[in-house]
């Protein structure tokens, strides 16, 4: 966050419009941001505020209606499949539902071998590959020997999500987009997952974009917080600024919606609409 840090991902006037004419929906509306290298950024908003659409645009999974994305100071070019694949070496994602993130026909080691090939390790000796996979598994506190011949459906949700992080560890992209990685996981494993994301940032220097609806998580983990409402970024700043001194009414509401334990949780403000 210091001034000498280089800009990693920058968006200017990003807009995504779905539909045409009267059916038109503006999902993301002229969003500007500048994310530095090694920064931990959270994007917070309720369901339907356009968080996931924004993430998909950053990943290049859907087209952009208007605006530009700059990756490491240069305009992003994903016009051809080859360029897209080149871009995806730098940006990777973890999604909400670990059960649908896997190819159900591939065993775990096939998944990992694909990752190694993608990083240009196709011709490495087999022992070296096993060593890399073991290292990745131990990063997420799993034992490679126990997993190597398993199919994804034989694992629990928490294990699957951790393996997704192991995959990221093997690929070592510059940017990781984590789209609600903890929402389908119970509270105890959640602390583990968050801790691993922190370590990816601290040990490898990855830039992490963390998307969540729970402002408590965002406050715990991130340096910078962006609050999204109806496709617009309404408030941004460091985590302390935004959560301890919120300016927008929307941010205040998001904070009041999360249950507290040391302060009174006011339920009378609920507005059924």
């Amino acid at each position: 966050m210091t001034d000498e840090k280089k800009s990693c991902l920058k968006g200017i006037g990003l807009t995504k419009v779905f539909g045409l004419g009267r059916q038109k929906t503006v999902a993301v509306d002229h969003v500007n941001f500048d994310i530095c290298e090694g920064e931990f950024v959270s994007i917070v908003g309720e369901s339907g505020s356009g968080k996931t659409t924004l993430a998909k645009m950053l990943l290049g999974l859907i087209s952009i209606s208007e605006g530009e994305i700059y990756f490491q100071g240069e305009k992003r070019d994903i016009s051809s499949q080859r360029k897209k694949q080149e871009y995806w070496k730098n940006i990777q994602a973890i999604f909400q539902d670990p059960f649908s993130s896997y190819n159900i026909f591939n065993k775990i080691d096939t998944l990992f071998l694909d990752c190694i090939s993608m990083r240009g390790g196709r011709h490495l000796p087999h022992e070296k590959k096993v060593e890399m996979m073991t290292e990745a598994c131990s990063f997420v506190n799993l034992k490679f020997e126990e997993l190597t011949n398993k199919y994804p459906f034989e694992l629990s949700g928490g294990q699957m999500q951790r393996l997704m992080i192991a995959r990221i560890f093997l690929l070592k992209p510059k940017i990781l987009v984590a789209d609600e990685p903890t929402s389908m996981i119970d509270a105890c494993s959640r602390a583990t997952i968050l801790d691993m994301l922190m370590r990816l940032r601290n040990e490898i220097g990855m830039t992490i974009i963390f998307i969540t609806h729970d402002i408590g998580l965002a406050y715990y983990i991130s340096d910078t917080v962006y609050i999204m409402e109806h496709g617009k970024i309404v408030e941004s700043g460091t985590a302390d600024q935004v959560i301890l001194n919120p300016k927008e009414a929307y941010t205040k509401r998001l904070i009041s919606d999360v249950p507290k334990i040391h302060e009174e949780w006011d339920l009378s403000t609920v507005n059924y609409s």
Partner: protein, 335 residues
């Protein structure tokens, strides 16, 4: 002393797997819920929370089997009752259940009012459609749901709205006990708050007499329920008032769970979250001594040599550990 709505004595239920192995998912659980009170059940995935909920209703279908113990709902002993009989006379009127994916329970081809007609007519066949509509409209308005919802199809409603509709429908017959199994885990924080408000309203207005709330989100339990029970590997490991369990946990597992609480309050960023290492035991071959011994920081050899009994201390507080209260407090202080 107020009336006991639900009493469970030493309930044990098991799953029988394809390979004839027994998995004891609920192991000698005793609990009591009084009128006007709510009980929260916490624990990580696979600790038997949801199985306990199913067992409480006496609703046993293979592979879940009843083994021993007693269930008494509002003075009526339902132990050993036929599941079909349970469905006719107990479910809906005495005890109601909100499953985790409640919103998927709605039939996409029928309007909401049709579901409510089904529910009421199954129990009181003589009720006319007009009476049902009036009852449902009044009830929905009172719970903050617009009456137009009744004439809509499930696809026209948002996730939070569907969840609240299912809750309102399941308590339309004023059950004595409501079991809510993670009613808010698939929702975002804003809808979650609405669901919680609704459950509180139901209790305050007396539509349900008592509630059991199951979740892994401890801050929620703290705000919703009077008592909290922590489960691990099918057993009760700690039970006390919400205040006691959250701020002064005794069992090392409960203590570990409290370390994973995330709330947006000042000072959170200075706290290092502590996850409990390891995984829960395989219940096909449960360890002989303390179930938590493998993951416990304070384990001593005696923990594994004999089964650990529940200890009772002042009030209704119980916990399951080899150490006494004073010993535990001393250990925690030295940390």
């Amino acid at each position: 002393m107020s009336k006991v709505m639900l009493e469970v004595k030493e309930l044990t239920t098991k799953y029988i797997t394809r390979f004839r192995e027994d998995v004891y998912a609920v192991d000698h659980v005793s609990l009591k819920v009084e009128e006007g009170k709510s009980l929260g059940i916490a624990g990580e995935s696979g600790c038997g929370k949801s199985t306990l909920a199913l067992s409480l209703m006496g609703y046993y279908f293979a592979p879940l089997h009843y083994t021993s113990g007693e269930i008494i709902i509002n003075g009526q002993n339902i132990t050993g009752m036929d599941p079909d009989e349970v469905r006719k006379s107990i479910l809906g009127t005495e005890i109601a259940y909100i499953p985790q994916s409640a919103m998927n329970a709605l039939n996409p081809t029928q309007k909401i009012i049709h579901l409510i007609e089904d529910v009421i007519q199954a129990h009181n066949p003589k009720t006319t459609k007009k009476e049902i509509r009036e009852l449902a409209e009044g009830r929905f308005e009172e719970l903050g749901l617009p009456a137009e919802v009744l004439q809509k199809y499930p696809v026209e409603l948002s996730g939070g709205m569907k969840q609240r509709t299912v809750i309102a429908t399941s308590v339309i017959l004023n059950p004595k006990v409501l079991i809510a199994d993670e009613p808010s885990s698939a929702l975002d924080v804003t809808s979650q708050k609405m669901v919680i408000k609704m459950l509180r309203d139901l209790m305050e207005k007396g539509y349900v007499k008592s509630m059991i709330f199951i979740t892994h989100e401890l801050p929620l339990l703290y705000n919703v329920t009077d008592d909290i029970m922590v489960m691990y590997a099918g057993q009760i490991v700690e039970k006390g008032t919400a205040q006691e369990v959250v701020f002064d946990p005794l069992h090392p597992y409960a203590k570990g769970l409290m370390g994973s609480i995330i709330v947006p309050e000042k000072g959170l960023r200075d706290v290092k979250l502590t996850a409990i290492p390891g995984v829960p035991p395989n219940l096909k071959k449960p360890p002989f001594g303390c179930q938590f011994a493998e993951r416990c920081k304070y384990v001593i050899p005696e923990c594994k040599s004999h089964p650990i009994d529940l200890r009772e201390i002042k009030g209704d507080r119980i916990y399951r550990c080899i150490f006494t209260e004073a010993q535990l407090r001393k250990v925690y202080q030295n940390d």
